[in-house]
Symmetry: C2
Subunit: 317 residues, 2 copies
């Protein structure tokens, strides 16, 4: 049995996870970011005990703890090198949690952990696998030869930061035109707001008045009801995602590529036109095509992935 | 001792290569493309004997033959699945050359072979390595865990076909705005010609009149002499390359990235501003940076890489 912890900017989520990737029990607490890593790790330890009890087990049944953290993570040494969101700098999280439990602790970047979770559950043991998550930003993870690919400095797999428009929209990373400025849910909301202003007659305006705010669902729902401006927003947004995925496919030609994040719950409305675009435009006319799918785990991916990465790590050593 | 063959659209080049990647002798013949694969393989066999004799050896000293071919190559079965340039479709090149020599034969895509050659000679055994070649198009190869990365269908590593401008210049691949439409030498020549028209006073016009044609060197040479329009062409071209390399670095964070192709002979004039841009804009503020270098082997990379890939393949089996 393993524990997976998904340390987020808002919540710390933890789960007791079986060797097959199934969650037996889970729980969460607010991160209350701004606190020191020591205070946050104390809450992590409380969660570890809580989810273990929740699964009807005791800590001696746990083989390892895996933690997914935002930012740059040094897996080798169990240190969060830098996580702006949490205001962590060189935080020795693994060493701190070992003060509570005498167990192997494995740390991973959160997007990599989520990718690994989806890989375990819907990766079918593929030799090459890419996970793209469309959320506040665009994140991702790459699994090559059944292992998480990080680059030599653990800073790789920043799929959201591929420039798709050289003089495009400014990105938080300092460049312009990054994939995430077009394909994130943040970008979709901006695209929706812009179109609403251009088309005051669009039903999106009524939708937003009713719901109180523009969301990632605004354009998709109004498009389903036949609103032309909404259809345009939806189609453009899907094209942005598809262009980015075609780039990834041309580089990796992964056996499986999985799309996650809240917006992926749109299912086939999102998936089918993406597949059509990628299969038409990817640089591969004669060989089998990448299997493109919607994620299965959603919010649990981080917990499952962190736990399974910890499992794989103790099995390697 | 190994033989490496670099099958190109214009020439078939072969070399007798030591286990350390050093070429002992080499030779070439025209490809005369349009011929059947059997006729071309017959010439390859002649070259194998010629370079072996040239190194003072006989065929019994050769441990394996490696072949780099354009197009999509099925390494597993030694078949060129498709190479438009050579008009090959499902050509069983490895089986054909085995009719001449009872030796292990290994086939690889030419860009992958060249990448592997540069890796052997200037990759320092890195766990992650990317090679980008700026020529007629933009090609590349990716080495992960000391092995060539191809994707599940052998069609991966098409680094030239990352869209950098969603409604940009049309590409031969059917998309718009691909990296190679901005960063290849073909693109540089177009950018030079365009600027020459806009600036008839530019010394580039005189240069071209003297040399007879626009080349990849036109802008670089006139820029060195202080021509403003040429400086603009050069700077824009370098920025295009740097944007594309930043994308690659954000994905792979490779330990070493090597730039090859004829234009890379410009050396530091090309390399230094690229490094400055990439190190400023890559998504990595706290970890060590990718070592970006100019290629060492140039035209010999394909021969060395094919031979060394053949060596590595027999050592694995």
């Amino acid at each position: 049995m393993y524990i997976g912890i998904d340390l987020g900017g808002t919540n710390i989520a933890a789960g007791c996870v079986g060797g097959d990737g199934k969650i037996l029990s889970k729980s969460s607490m607010p991160t209350l970011k701004g606190r020191s890593y020591k205070e946050i790790v104390k809450d992590m330890a409380t969660l570890c005990e809580r989810v273990t009890r929740g699964a009807g087990l005791c800590m001696s049944d746990i083989k390892a703890i895996g933690i997914g953290s935002p930012g740059t993570v040094d897996s080798e040494n169990g240190v969060v090198v830098y996580a702006g969101n949490l205001r962590f700098k060189k935080a020795p999280v693994a060493a701190e949690i070992k003060k509570y439990f005498d167990l192997p602790v494995y740390m991973e970047n959160d997007a990599n952990a989520a990718a690994y979770g989806e890989y375990i559950v819907c990766g079918h043991d593929a030799d090459s696998f890419v996970f793209i998550t469309l959320g506040t930003g665009v994140g991702g993870g790459i699994i090559i030869n059944k292992k998480i690919y990080r680059g030599f400095n653990s800073a790789g797999a920043e799929i959201g930061h591929i420039c798709m428009e050289m003089n495009g929209i400014e990105c938080t990373c300092g460049r312009r035109g990054c994939f995430e400025r077009y394909a994130s849910v943040t970008a979709l909301r901006e695209q929706t707001s812009e179109m609403m202003k251009k088309h005051p007659e669009s039903s999106m305006n009524k939708w937003v008045k009713r719901k109180g705010h523009v969301s990632g669902r605004t354009a998709f729902e109004c498009a389903k009801a036949g609103d032309e401006a909404a259809v345009e927003v939806k189609n453009n947004y899907i094209r942005y995602i598809a262009e980015g995925i075609t780039n990834i496919v041309n580089i990796f030609q992964p056996e499986i590529l999985v799309i996650g994040g809240g917006i992926s719950k749109e299912g086939d409305v999102l998936l089918e036109p993406i597949k059509e675009f990628v299969y038409k435009y990817d640089f591969n006319k004669y060989m089998p095509k990448t299997d493109i799918r919607i994620a299965k785990l959603f919010n649990d991916a981080g917990i499952v992935g962190a736990a399974m990465a910890a499992k794989s790590n103790i099995e390697r050593h």
